[in-house]
Amino acid sequence: MIRLAFRNLFQNKARLAISVGGVALALLLILSLDAVFTGVERQITAYIEYSDADVWVSQAGVLNMHMASSSLPDSVARKVRAVPGVASVTPILYLTNNVVYEDERNLAYIIGLPESAEMGGPWKVSSGRSLPGKSEAIIDRTIAEKAGIKMGDEVEILGEEFEVTGLSEGTASLVNSVAFISMDDFEDLRGNYGTFSFLLVKVLEGESPELVAARIQAQVRDVTVQTREGFARQERRVVQDMSTDVVTIMNLIGFLIGLAVMALTVYTSTLSRRREYGMLKALGARNTDLYLTVLAQAILSVILGFLVGLVLTLLLTVVVPIFGSNLALEVSRASLLKVASVSVVIAAVSAMLPIRQIAGLDPAMVFRGR
């Protein structure tokens, strides 16, 4: 009966194309949206992931960077340095602001770095300096290209002019980029001295970041201490919380489109073969044999739709960056699992109505010329 399902499916190529295409587009919607959010999550946490810090220390209760503000007195840095297992501490200042060039404004995490920062600077520099000096800024290369900014040009950050002396790689996302200036400039612009936003901690070789983080948390008051992974996880959670409704709605739309297309094509396919199913029933095929045929048709269509949708999504992940967009799509295992589950549900639900139709077929119809 599986052979029959396969042949039925491929006999009407136009119907197959509609059902597979419809399901593929619906699943593409879900997959690509997931891929966008996975990509954005990765981009947004790139600074944390590449910071080279094992542990992040922030103001008590501050769990992440995005849309958050943290302030730590400089005494905290001294206390943290004294905790056993800590190899080095790099304080940074942080604000969300814009990199402005002529009429172009780009939202950016502005990072203020100490003169000889061991951590927290740009992790890949395509040209120029890797640490900013006085009145200097290092900005993302793709942002610079998009805005027409060249090395040596002046950009406005926090209301002041900075000379672009370095271009970094991998520091831009769909949402924002990361720009680096010196800590002295940052303090001058804020008019606030002796405080830091975050402390980036490197632990001694052989030490566990979790244990050192726990020690800092126990020994230093009014701080929140997290490992790099924990801090990045909190950052991702913020993005997820912000996008949950959008993702849910789009997933639901994708699911409903896929279901509608699939249900319609499986139903019309079964309807057009009503007489054949009736004949098989008359010959002695059991209802379960026929249900299996319809279900197999739906599952085969959905598998094909899923594969086409996946190929299209993977193509998008390659094509989108070629067009210079900061949008990085990434297909995650969780997303694949979710879409595969959605596909199974689509196949099962779309086969239900035709199965009911077959159940009600009178096999004697074959003798009545219906």
Partner: protein, 279 residues
């Protein structure tokens, strides 16, 4: 009630079968108190006007419809008393169906159309295909095994349907207007084929048809009207010219305890002379 001859070792035996649809003022009796026995190798043709109850009777014979009253017995099994869920297996293994519109699965090849019925009955795919190929080759379709139905002529389609009907070695073949969509030459070929199957393999064949020409291959012709058998015609073959004749209307001759039937006096005389010269 119409009582038709009872034969020992009948393949099919139906007794006092009635089928009523609806109830009260809307009740319609489609078949009324019909009895019939079909012997192994016998070909029974059921004829009658439209609405006479032929389709209802055929559906009941094929275990597709339960009679309101009466019993249907197939190879000793009372199929009219079986639970609904046992009937598909009976239909699959005990009956071969041949339909007016061939009813082949359009997406499958000739070979697959036959093999699928074997597979439904539990045969392994390879075994079912081997048997299907053998049957189709016997029926002259060895070169058409992998043709889809749309590439086959009407006669070829009906031969595929016959192979499909035979694949599970049924004792009874039920044919619904098997020549209706065939020209007369092909229709005649198909009928000869069915006769050979009945006579050589001992399978019983019940045919429902309007086609008078089928009388030639039938052993018995039953006329169904208003849900009842009104007339029974027993057919015989003229031993001289080979023509099929109705016994009741034919010229007959008895010789050494055996009855012979002829289309005309001339054939009878010729036969008589042959008998004399043989003595």
């Amino acid at each position: 009630m119409t009582n038709v001859s009872q034969v020992q070792d009948e393949t099919l035996q139906i007794a006092h079968v009635t089928k009523r649809y609806g109830a009260g003022s809307t009740e319609v009796t489609a078949v009324h108190d019909v009895s019939l026995s079909v012997s192994p190798g016998e070909i029974v043709l059921i004829m009658g006007p439209s609405g006479s109850g032929k389709t209802t009777l055929l559906s009941m014979l094929g275990a597709l419809l339960k009679p309101t009253e009466g019993t249907i017995q197939l190879n000793g099994t009372m199929i009219s008393a079986l639970e609904e869920n046992r009937l598909p297996d009976i239909r699959l293994k005990q009956f071969g169906f041949i339909f007016q519109d061939f009813n082949l699965l359009s997406a499958l090849t000739a070979l697959e159309n036959v093999a699928i019925v074997g597979e439904l009955a539990g045969a392994k795919s390879g075994e079912a295909k081997r048997k299907a190929a053998s049957l189709l080759t016997e029926l002259g379709l060895g070169e058409r095994l992998n043709f889809p139905p749309e590439k086959l002529s009407g006669g070829e389609k009906q031969r595929v349907a016959i192979a499909r009907a035979l694949v599970n070695d049924p004792r009874l073949i039920l044919a619904d207007e098997p020549t209706a969509n065939l020209d007369s030459k092909i229709g005649h070929e198909i009928m000869r084929l069915l006769r050979n199957i009945a006579k050589e393999q001992g399978r019983s064949v019940v045919i429902v048809s309007h086609d008078q020409r089928i009388k030639d291959i039938a052993d018995r012709v039953l006329w169904l009207e208003d849900g009842e058998f009104k007339e029974t015609v027993t057919m015989a073959i003229d031993p001289v010219c080979g023509m099929s004749v109705e016994r009741e209307k034919a010229v007959s001759l008895e010789s050494e305890g055996q009855d012979y039937y002829f289309c005309a006096q001339g054939c009878r005389d010729e036969f008589k002379n042959k008998l004399k010269s043989a003595l």
